[in-house]
């Protein structure tokens, strides 16, 4: 029942919010949400202790009949691929709740939706049945759509609708693939096993895998299905961006590994070279587009497009090291992008802008945002893959595991990694160095005499970012822990693929 309890904690939390009196102060509601999410995090850590690191398959399984005629079973399980993501979800949802501030509009609904997302994401990661996964995958869309639509920026309707349309198409394609699988098999077996696809011809496998690739490719997102992400991030509030980049994109990469590679290893081997090139294009496009941005949040959003491409490269190579790198990349990207979005949120809250043509000198030790700037430098260094931080380990593993299989694509992705340093140094140089200013530079004589009054950042405002920064360094210095969790699962997955290859 451990996994069921994991699901019930945020679900009951969400239901609890619907029962709370609406006149309860938002800060009190935030405290209740934090308590629920701390419970969820503690329970996720409890799972870690119950988890056997040596076993490659699903553990802590639960299985009950639900709608047998539809092949829908209540099947839960967790392995080395999903456990790190469950932990990431628990940590980042807590961070999202902690960093929620100045919430005046419908706080009850807001926190209920945050908890509902956490429930849905947990459900998707531990679902051991295709349809069950899809229910959770779709369930997460509506709360997120509402979070952007109600608490977003001025263009929130456009961004939320775009997000909904893209991800609804993603869901339809994945559903089509799962139903197609049942149709071709002539049975209603939606269990999560490569055996289900063994009897299917290669042509059909390629079509079904293609549907999954595009479906999850929208969610990841991969170029050219990425255009919803920068808009969604730009309009979403900081906590929602943290969840979106940190956790929700991982549903795409997780789905790709679990259902694409895990269920169609033969077809995967056929499409893998194209996927590697696709990954390189996505990485380069994301990086180059990030260089062209003047909105800090859009820059970080495009960096996500680029960095998620590494996961596709690693999945295409499907060697044990590369798959380990994919897991590391998912976790490290979750932590780093959440950190960057948090810090961009702080900058936005204090200055009223994210425009790189306007912001200058925020690292000013007296009147700027020096600690925020310091963490931002740490975050961009981690994102650029500097040794000692999470980004280095993940990129190193991805490149090391992929270069022998796809040397050209890997080299192109390495160029993308170098470009990360370019656009993030542009960001840091423009926004954080120089004389403090938050206005466009029109007259240098005036600019050098401007008096800028920014409210200081209270220590409690930086606690979530500080916690993430510590996690980024800890993962960079002590990667063996995460490696130990995912080693058996990624090894088994790679074996499955090599057997097919």
């Amino acid at each position: 029942m451990m996994l069921s309890i994991l699901l019930l904690i945020p679900l009951f939390g969400a239901l609890l919010f619907l029962l709370l009196p609406s006149e309860l102060a938002p800060t009190r509601m935030r405290s209740i949400a934090i308590v629920v999410l701390v419970l969820q995090l503690l329970w996720s850590i409890r799972l870690l202790f119950a988890f056997d690191l040596e076993l490659p398959g699903m553990q802590l399984q639960e299985s009950f009949s639900w709608v047998e005629r539809l092949g829908l079973r209540y099947e839960l399980g967790i392995d080395g691929l999903s456990l790190p993501l469950v932990l990431l979800n628990a940590a980042l949802t807590l961070v999202a709740a902690v960093c929620t501030r100045e919430l005046s509009e419908r706080p009850r609904l807001y926190f209920a939706l945050i908890l509902l997302i956490s429930f849905a994401v947990n459900g998707a990661f531990v679902a051991n049945n295709l349809l069950f996964f899809l229910i959770f995958y779709e369930l997460e869309l509506i709360p997120l759509w509402l979070l952007i639509l109600i608490w977003g920026g001025t263009q929130r309707v456009y961004a939320a609708t775009k997000f909904l349309l893209f991800t609804a198409v993603s869901g339809v394609l994945i559903l089509a693939a799962f139903l197609g699988l049942a149709f071709i098999n002539g049975s209603v077996d939606f269990s999560l096993s490569p055996l289900v696809t063994e009897r299917i011809g290669m042509g059909s496998q390629l079509i079904l895998l293609g549907c999954l690739l595009v479906g999850f490719g929208i969610k990841i997102p991969l170029v050219p299905f990425h255009s919803w992400l920068p808009d969604a991030h730009t309009q979403a509030s900081t906590p929602v961006s943290v969840l979106l980049a940190g956790v929700l994109l991982k549903l795409g990469t997780y789905g790709l590994l679990r259902f694409g590679l895990g269920m169609f290893p033969d077809a995967w081997a056929v499409l893998a070279p194209a996927m590697a090139i696709w990954a390189a294009i996505s990485v380069l496009y994301g990086s180059l587009a990030a260089i062209a941005q003047r909105d800090m949040k859009r820059m970080v959003a495009f960096s996500s497009v680029g960095h998620m491409g590494y996961v596709l490269l690693a999945a295409a190579a499907a060697t044990p090291v590369a798959l380990m790198g994919a897991v590391f990349q998912m976790v490290s990207h979750g932590l780093i992008s959440a950190l960057l979005f948090l810090l961009v949120g702080v900058v936005y809250r204090k200055t009223g802008t994210r425009d790189l043509e306007v912001l200058r000198g925020l690292l000013n030790p007296e009147l700027g945002l020096p600690f925020t700037g310091t963490l931002m430098i740490l975050g961009v260094m981690a994102s650029a893959g500097l040794p000692g931080m999470a980004g280095f380990i993940s990129e190193f593993l991805v490149f090391r595991g992929s270069i022998q299989i796809y040397p050209l694509a890997t080299l192109l992705c390495m160029v993308g990694s170098g470009l990360t340093a370019v656009y993030f140094l542009l960001l840091v140089n423009r926004a954080f160095f120089g004389r403090l200013a938050i206005t466009p530079e029109e007259d240098p004589a005036i600019q050098k005499r401007l008096d800028v009054q920014l409210a200081p950042v209270a220590p409690r405002e930086t606690i979530p970012a500080l916690a993430l920064a510590i996690a980024v360094i800890a993962l960079g210095l002590l990667p063996a822990g995460l490696g130990g969790i995912s080693d058996a699962a990624t090894g088994a997955m790679a074996q499955l693929f090599s057997g097919a290859g």
Partner: protein, 379 residues
């Protein structure tokens, strides 16, 4: 992008050179009259006076007791080598005497006035020759002097400038603390009173002799002998203002210049990196203090000014920037007093030539000052 709230950014008007010239000629203060300005200027000068007291004592100690010591490891300890003093020094619980040394070096490098001329004279070389003879007994100096004959004379010039600055700051320290007492006694109530008080102090000390000698091997040697005729105002105060207020030294950590990129004029007279030009806002890099001087003044901040700062902007968080801004205001008052005290005809000329000379003097100063941080002068 949302519109940036207007209250986050402000810009004070910069007076033109013509405005400044008119004020100087009309004997008006450059700094606008206000009660807050009086508190800022008087209290910041009081803290500055206390810091200058420590700087002055240390500079004189260095020049007299650390003269040509090859490795002056304890030069900032004022002769107190107790464990407690060394421990506090290592923990940086101390005055930043380095700032005083920077000012001394700025005076030496931007040498103007009678003391600089004397350093280049034959009389000076003649005076220091016996000192060098005595000091050559030190093995290291004995080796270095034949190899680099200009080395010891330059060190002696440095020591002389150090001592002269110590004497100058002794007078200024007392003057600024007296000013605070006068304000407490209601003898000084406005910015005009402040300027007049400083002017009177400078004029009173103008003719004070500046001399310096050292005792070596139980024998006294003059370096700046009385017969050189060096005086407080013309030979130390004015060169100090020129070097520190106008040309160098920018407050540490405020801005960096790239000489190779032609950001610095090759003509030292064109330098405008002094205290009156320095940006109070530190630029580049976290953790660099706006200035060592501001840190020192913060340690001696009067309660009244501290309370004023607590209620402004970030309170304690940006206190050194606020000190720097108040300090610039006070330095404009000191400059104002110095200009008022050195008009060729004291604004009391009767002939056309005398009036033209005063006007030209005011115009030259107004031109130089107008490039400075005059935005701090408004109310």
């Amino acid at each position: 992008m949302p519109i940036i709230p207007s209250e986050l950014v402000s810009f004070s008007e910069v007076p033109s050179a013509l405005d400044l010239k008119a004020k100087l000629l009309a004997n008006q203060t450059l700094l606008a009259e206000s009660e807050t300005h009086v508190v800022e200027v008087v209290d910041v000068l009081k803290s500055y006076g206390e810091v200058l007291d420590a700087y002055s004592k240390n500079l004189i100690y260095q020049a007299e007791s650390q003269f040509l010591v090859p490795f002056p490891l304890f030069k900032y300890l004022d002769g107190d080598k107790s464990f407690a003093k060394i421990w506090r020094h290592l923990c940086h619980d101390r005055i930043n005497f380095e700032y005083a040394e920077y000012c001394m070096k700025a005076m030496l490098w931007h040498g103007t006035g009678g003391m600089d001329s004397y350093f280049d004279s034959a009389a000076f070389i003649e005076n220091i020759a016996p000192i060098i003879q005595v000091k050559r007994r030190d093995p290291l100096l004995g080796l270095l002097h034949p190899l680099f004959p200009q080395f010891l004379p330059e060190l002696i010039r440095t020591a002389a400038t150090t001592h002269a600055l110590g004497q100058f700051w002794r007078v200024m320290s007392d003057l600024f603390i007296d000013l605070a007492d006068a304000e407490a006694d209601k003898r000084v109530c406005s910015i005009l009173d402040v300027v007049d008080f400083i002017k009177a102090g400078l004029v009173a000390a103008a003719g004070n002799p500046i001399s310096y000698g050292v005792k070596l091997a139980n024998k006294h040697f003059w370096i700046l002998p009385p017969e050189a005729g060096l005086t407080f105002l013309a030979d130390v105060a004015v060169p100090y203002v020129e070097a520190v207020f106008l040309r160098g030294t920018p407050f540490l950590g405020t801005v960096s210049f790239n000489a190779q990129a032609q950001q610095i004029s090759p003509d030292q007279a064109q330098f405008c990196y002094g205290a009156l030009y320095a940006d109070p806002l530190p630029t580049m890099g976290a953790g660099i203090p706006p200035s060592l001087l501001m840190q020192d003044m913060y340690r001696h901040l009067p309660k009244r000014l501290d309370l004023l700062y607590q209620n402004r902007t970030r309170g304690e968080g940006d206190v050194r920037v606020k000190i720097c801004r108040s300090f610039q205001k006070s330095m404009f008052c000191v400059t104002n007093a110095a200009i008022a005290g050195t008009f060729p005809h004291g604004l009391a000329g009767t002939t056309a030539d005398q009036l033209a000379a005063d006007e030209a003097y005011a115009e030259a100063w107004a031109k130089r000052l107008s490039q400075g941080r005059t935005d701090c002068l408004a109310v």
